[in-house]
Symmetry: C2
Subunit: 225 residues, 2 copies
């Protein structure tokens, strides 16, 4: 992990050129900002090269990147840990009509509690949250909180393997997406903001799970004329 | 322009492979979404390749991409045309504490009114809005509207040639940025949201125009502890 190895990464970087490759854009998260800050403290010059990332590749859904609000993360719920800060962030975006991109949890190199307790370096198989799991957790939290930030018939787009040859999009109500199967990871989800453009509608309707439910929800939530 | 030439671009695209190169990400704006929609209507398969764009390259400021709201455009004001919709968009972002990326006007292949009237294809020299011009127009509109969405001492980051070898950032109050000179285009500007992280502060303070005014404004608007 970058966080714990920044000393190692920066070791000798004052004497020789060190390249550091990342998935997506180097500044998509705080981790790499921190690395650059540490380099600056050590007077080590840095240079970064921007790259495509899910934050703009999501434009392939046909939704306008201008109309996205803050990006949120959704983690796997457990029996006693159900972090719901995403709900407040979505509420904020929704309050001004913006789309919300949700990045879904990835569990790699996780140890079971037992293995951790015994200090055994045995790791669980990697887990990647699916669009269906995300939609389910979203509806669970809406039911708990009752803030009417979104509903079972709110429109969202399930996205799989964005940018890859076999990328897939499925636009449907959250209820429909609870049962969607989009294949291998990585998945992400976009909850539509109220302020959606007709051109966006025409585009995302092309991958509607069900055009009837799509049209009904669009009319109910997005047809502001 | 893509808008007026889509028929030409799509001509014969059903028979042979047509590649279409764009600056930035292909779906950064509606223009290319429209092109893909037209292709789909003609049953022409399309494939797009995501690319870095200002929307994520702006992460090089050290501001967290997660914490940006909707992106807005700022156009050159004229004597009788001062579109201020950007102000409402900023207000919305600010109301939930988010940063706002402002993309600045580019005037290329513009005709003077006289040349246009006479049908002369003589074009004015290209013009690119600077950070200073943007900051000035922002303050003019705040003065007109009086909505206290931002002030002379609100912090913003002037950005020039993001992603290029000679990219430059200058963080200062809007008043300071009214006089900033950042060199050749393209410029853009980020108005800081209230919900800024300490790590963001440490990073952007490195290119503060004046550390004293930076610290005062940070304390006034962003130090929420």
């Amino acid at each position: 992990m970058v966080e714990s190895s920044s000393d190692e990464i920066l070791e000798d970087a004052d004497k020789s050129d060190i390249a550091f490759l990342v998935v997506g854009d180097p500044f998509g998260a705080t981790t790499h900002t921190d690395l650059v800050l540490r380099a600056k403290e050590l007077s080590i010059p840095t240079k970064s090269i921007p790259n495509a990332s899910i934050l703009n590749a999501i434009g392939a859904t046909g939704l306008q990147l201008y109309n996205f609000g803050q990006t949120v993360s959704m983690v796997f719920f457990t029996d006693n840990w159900r972090p719901a800060s995403f709900y407040d962030r979505i509420r904020e975006n929704a309050s001004i009509g913006l789309h919300t991109l949700m990045l879904l949890d990835i569990k790699v190199k996780e140890q079971s509690l037992e293995n951790m307790a015994r200090g055994r370096k045995i790791y669980e198989p990697p887990r990647y949250m699916t669009v269906a799991q995300c939609a389910q957790q979203m509806l669970e939290i809406e039911e708990e909180k009752g803030g009417k930030v979104y509903n079972e018939d709110s429109l969202a787009i399930g996205c799989a393997r964005v940018g890859a040859e076999d990328q897939r999009f499925a636009c449907g109500t959250l209820k429909e997406l609870c049962d969607i199967e989009l294949g291998p990871p990585l998945h992400s989800l976009v909850l539509l903001g109220k302020r959606a453009h007709e051109l966006e509608r025409d585009y995302i309707r092309l991958f509607a799970v069900n055009e009837g439910t799509f049209d009904r929800s669009w009319k109910k939530y997005h047809d502001t004329k």
